[in-house]
């Protein structure tokens, strides 16, 4: 409303202005007539009198201008006039407007989109009341190569009661529950939580209530809190839902309430929340790593204080623990850590996104420099116009205001275009994110991002105005009073400025190119890594397997699937590329005991990833046996044998034959000889955790019959038949075996492998495009500034040619300065790139961040680009006909 009122007031003032303007005209006309009359009275003819009066009166336009100024400087009136003028100016130079507005829109838009993503993933990932007081407590096991494991009930109870830095603490664990909808079974992502979580995040129920700690007791009535989106999808937001029941994993759960939409920002995939239960009668475990422990710091408390308090409690636990537990902690190096959840969440994205934002900003700066250079060139070309305006009585203030309005119009169009580009970019990003992982929070342009973008374009407007005005006022204003020839050489100051722009553009262009080439190299290397198995025509499905069915269901499924024609399949505990959202976990990791193996004093606990397999698994995946053999059916059934991979063999049996050695995994060291498992073969290494897997952890294959499924199984299918047809018949088979088992995540392995390098590909693609833009814009800048320079020096070049300077000397003269600038830019860029190397290192795969090849290639690319950019105008200049050049004056 206020805006409308003020607008109305402004319009009224404008109307008033128009009236005043008319009155001023009338008043001055009267004056002129009076004077004419007086001259007539003195005996002049009417014509002579009018002429004399007009001469004495002076320029009416100039007088009006002065009178207006005396009356007070009205910015709205002046603004409107200048906007109209700027619009005409821009319409008359269409190329200039298109280039400046277009590049500004594109690069502002890219920056805004990048910032929106950065903001929602890194800067502000927790849209809750106290983001700076919510911490995550986790365990780090550095000696077995695990930086982060979750927490457990033991730590939760201890820390909640005894850490004074915590206001409250709660547990959160992700699950995949089988949910029987009206027509078919499906998988539902749920979380089991302790009730403090709600208070901790500061959310209140939309309807009904949240559960309390009594629900965490075993055998407590089963209750569930729905999320807003689940409530909307399945119950159409009916308030009567409270008190109804839903079936999860074959059990009835009573709906007690609905969590608000804000809750979904914490874990977008989760659709329902159940109480996390444990039995107080049993000894509380402090060794498992399953639920996530989150806590809210008391106001004024710090992460460091919480860290020291939890560490002290861990120490007390260690001192009072059994020798076996102490040995485990010693060997794994287990330590408790407290960190802001905000920071933990941002960690995975921070590096690539900051890099992307920095590169986008570099391109924007290069584009800014080009736009500025264009503005300056245009100012120089418009000398006559400023001459005229100055002669007509425009003050310096008027000129500055006009220049400000011109850059303002460009800036505002650029801003609007930029926001449109950003919206489009985010829509595209959301589209792909939704395909890759459904149920994630979509990115959108927040007010802060719009404000930042507006600030950036405002900055451009201000800088452009200041620089162009200083150009006009300092260097050219004096010349307006004199008469210059049409083509003067560019002023020293503007040439120097253009020189800095070129150096800066080249330096930025080079840095972005180096990073892009490094990422391109590492992407190519990652894509070329052999996964260790044959992924052609290999499909995989995941299905939920309740613990109660894990001994029967896989066997029945095997039997039924064997009946399907044209496929070979196996049901295993986990498949390579276990990339199931939201867990996104790796394979399970287990502690290893090897008979006769003595760990060195500083060594960590022997450990390995493992999965439970079948006798035909090696055939389905196409594994190679390096030594020994794969399991036979009876060996799978007995569960007394293991197959290890090459890394395991090298790691623990260097120089020995591993075949026939004894080991166990994921259980205590056996006391009787018969409990050991025998190693019967060594298989080639497989990148089980995705192509980017750098853990280097060994791998162990166990019998499926003796390995826990942890709630889910994978079906691997090798087939020549069409994918959709096979997946359909496999789904039907699963439904026929057990209708309550949901199937999900069915994708060909090839696709999963590509997904595991998807983020690398996206980042690489974006940065290579940005680097391309950067080099192109920098070259364009060089080209533009040199061409312009030459166009102003035609007379000089003409004279030089006329007195016999060879053409190649002319070219040399024109190119020397630019080549020198380009080289300076390259050197600065190389130095800055080297400074950044540590930052880039974490994003690379098998490529050194100081890779000589990448730096050389970038330098060559950038130098060639700048050479071409200055060769073209220089060659053109050397072909100038001196006669024509001099006649042009």
């Amino acid at each position: 409303m206020r805006v409308i009122f003020s607008l109305r007031a402004r319009l009224r003032a404008l109307k008033q202005r128009r009236k005043l303007e008319a009155e001023m005209h009338e008043e001055m006309r009267l004056h002129l007539e009076q004077r004419t009359e007086e001259y007539c009275h003195d005996g002049l003819t009417l014509e002579e009198a009018a002429r004399a009066a007009a001469i004495e009166f002076g320029s009416l336009a100039s007088l009006k201008e002065e009178a207006r100024e005396a009356r007070g400087w009205d910015w709205t009136e002046s603004l409107l006039r200048n906007v109209r003028y700027a619009r005409r100016q821009l319409a008359s130079s269409k190329l200039f407007s298109a280039v400046t507005i277009g590049s500004l829109s594109l690069f502002l838009g890219i920056n805004a989109a990048a910032f929106a993503v950065l903001d929602s993933l890194v800067l502000n990932p927790l849209p809750f009341p106290y983001p700076d007081r919510i911490v995550e407590v986790y365990n780090s096991l550095p000696k077995v190569g695990v930086a982060k494991f979750c927490s457990n009930v033991g730590q939760y109870l201890d820390f909640k009661a005894n850490v004074s830095a915590f206001e409250t603490a709660g547990l959160w664990e992700m699950h995949q529950d089988a949910f029987a909808d009206a027509d078919r079974a499906k998988i539902l992502v749920t979380a089991t939580v302790t009730p403090e979580v709600f208070d901790l995040l500061g959310v209140h129920p939309s309807i009904g209530r949240f559960f309390d700690l009594t629900s965490s007791r075993p055998n407590a009535p089963r209750v569930v809190v729905l999320t807003e989106s689940f409530w909307a999808e399945h119950f159409h937001r009916a308030p009567s839902v409270v008190g109804k029941t839903i079936r999860l994993n074959g059990e009835e759960y009573e709906i007690v309430g609905v969590a608000p939409a804000a809750m979904e920002k914490f874990a977008p995939q989760v659709q329902a929340l159940r109480p996390l239960t444990w039995d107080p009668a049993e000894p509380v475990l402090r060794s498992g790593y399953s639920p996530m422990l989150i806590a809210r710091l008391k106001a004024g408390s710090t992460v460091a204080l919480a860290q020291s308090q939890t560490a002290a409690l861990e120490k007390a636990f260690y001192d009072g623990a059994a020798p076996r537990t102490r040995a485990f902690i010693d060997q794994t190096g287990q330590t408790v850590r407290v960190d802001l959840l905000r920071r933990q969440r941002a960690e995975a994205f921070a590096h690539p996104l900051f890099l992307l934002q920095a590169s986008a900003a570099a391109v924007l700066l290069v584009a800014f420099a080009n736009i500025l250079d264009l503005f300056i060139a245009r100012i120089n070309a418009r000398e006559m116009e400023f001459h005229t305006r100055a002669a007509l009585g425009a003050s310096r203030k008027d000129i500055v205001f006009q220049l400000g309005v011109e850059s303002g119009v460009i800036g505002i169009f650029g801003l609007l275009g930029g926001l449109a580009v950003a919206e489009a970019g985010l829509a595209l990003a959301n589209h792909f994110v939704a395909i890759l992982s459904p149920n994630t929070v979509a990115f959108h342009l927040q007010t802060s991002v719009v404000a930042a973008t507006a600030a950036a374009s405002l900055l451009l407007i201000a800088v452009t105005t200041i620089i162009t005005s200083s150009q006009v006022l300092q260097t050219s204003w004096r010349r307006y009073r004199e008469t210059g020839t049409r083509t003067q050489s560019r002023s020293m100051q503007s040439r120097k400025l253009a020189g800095y722009f070129v150096v800066g553009q080249i330096a930025f262009g080079l840095m972005v190119t180096v990073i892009a080439i490094l990422l391109l190299q590492s992407f190519l290397r990652a894509a070329a890594v052999p996964p260790g198995f044959n992924a052609d025509r290999l499909l995989s499905l995941r299905l939920a397997v309740p613990e109660s069915k894990e001994h029967t269901l896989p066997i029945r499924l095997d039997e039924e699937l064997r009946k399907l024609p044209g496929i070979e399949s196996c049901v295993v505990t986990a498949a390579p590329f276990y990339l199931v959202p939201p867990v996104n976990a790796s394979m399970p990791l287990g502690a290893v005991h090897i008979r006769g193996y003595e760990a060195g004093p500083g060594d960590g606990l022997p450990s390995a990833y493992y999965c439970g397999v079948t006798a035909n698994y090696a055939d389905v995946l196409g594994l190679n046996m390096l030594r020994g053999r794969w399991f036979s059916e009876p060996e799978i059934a007995s569960g007394r044998y293991v197959v290890i991979d090459e890394t395991f063999s090298k790691h623990y049996f260097s120089g020995q034959d591993p075949i026939g050695q004894k080991m166990v995994i994921n259980r205590a060291a056996p006391t009787t000889d018969s409990d050991w498992l025998e190693i019967i073969g060594v298989a080639n290494n497989v990148l089980h955790n995705g192509i980017g897997d750098k853990s280097g952890q060994p791998f162990v294959y166990l019998s499926r019959a003796h390995t826990p499924f942890f709630g889910a199984a994978s079906i691997l299918i090798k087939t020549e038949r069409p994918t959709d047809e096979v997946l359909k018949s496999v789904r039907e088979t699963v439904a026929a075996v057990d209708s309550e088992i949901p199937v999900f995540d069915n994708k060909p392995e090839r696709v999963l492998m590509e997904e595991s390098i998807q983020d690398r590909r996206a980042l690489m693609f974006l940065l290579v495009s940005l680097a391309g833009c950067c080099v192109f814009l920098a070259s364009l800048g060089i080209y533009g500034s040199l061409s312009y320079d030459i166009s102003r020096r035609i007379r000089e070049i003409g004279i030089r040619l006329a007195i016999g300077t060879p053409k190649k000397d002319i070219m040399k003269m024109l190119m020397t300065a630019t080549c020198f600038r380009a080289t300076t830019g390259v050197l600065i860029g190389l130095a800055c790139g080297l400074l950044l190397h540590r930052y880039v290192a974490s994003l690379l795969f098998n490529v050194s961040p100081v890779d000589v090849g990448a730096y050389t290639t970038s330098a060559v690319v950038v130098l060639i680009g700048s050479l071409i950019a200055c060769l073209i105008p220089a060659a053109r200049a050397s072909r100038i006909d001196p006669v024509v050049a001099l006649r042009a004056e």
Partner: protein, 108 residues
């Protein structure tokens, strides 16, 4: 620069003085100053109108449209209370200045 500032301040005072005798339009003011000063002070339009508008914005004078002596529509300016005070101040400053200059000219 100094000279024109002096002149500008003086011009304001002269206009205020003319208006203190009664309302007048732009032409009338210039004419009056010219005739009273016996053609010594001829106020150009380039100085007169900017001065009038400036003083109007400052609230020293106000304007209205009326009929001139020869039955033409003209804009008449009149002194406001603020303008009267301003005239007082400027006249006093002028008396002091001219007295001082006169005394220097006579006795130095």
């Amino acid at each position: 620069m100094k000279n024109s500032e002096l002149l500008q301040g003086t011009l304001d005072m002269l206009i205020l003085r003319v208006l203190s005798r009664g309302d007048s339009h732009g032409w009338g003011i210039a004419d009056r100053i010219k005739s009273v000063s016996k053609d010594v002070l001829s106020i150009g339009e380039g100085s007169l109108y900017p001065a009038l508008y400036r003083m109007e914005t400052r609230g020293w004078i106000k304007s209205r449209w009326g009929q001139s002596e020869n039955n033409r529509k003209a804009k008449f300016y009149s002194l406001t209370k603020l303008g009267e005070d301003q005239l007082e101040t400027e006249a006093e400053a002028w008396r002091q200045l001219s007295g001082a200059i006169g005394s220097v000219m006579r006795h130095a």
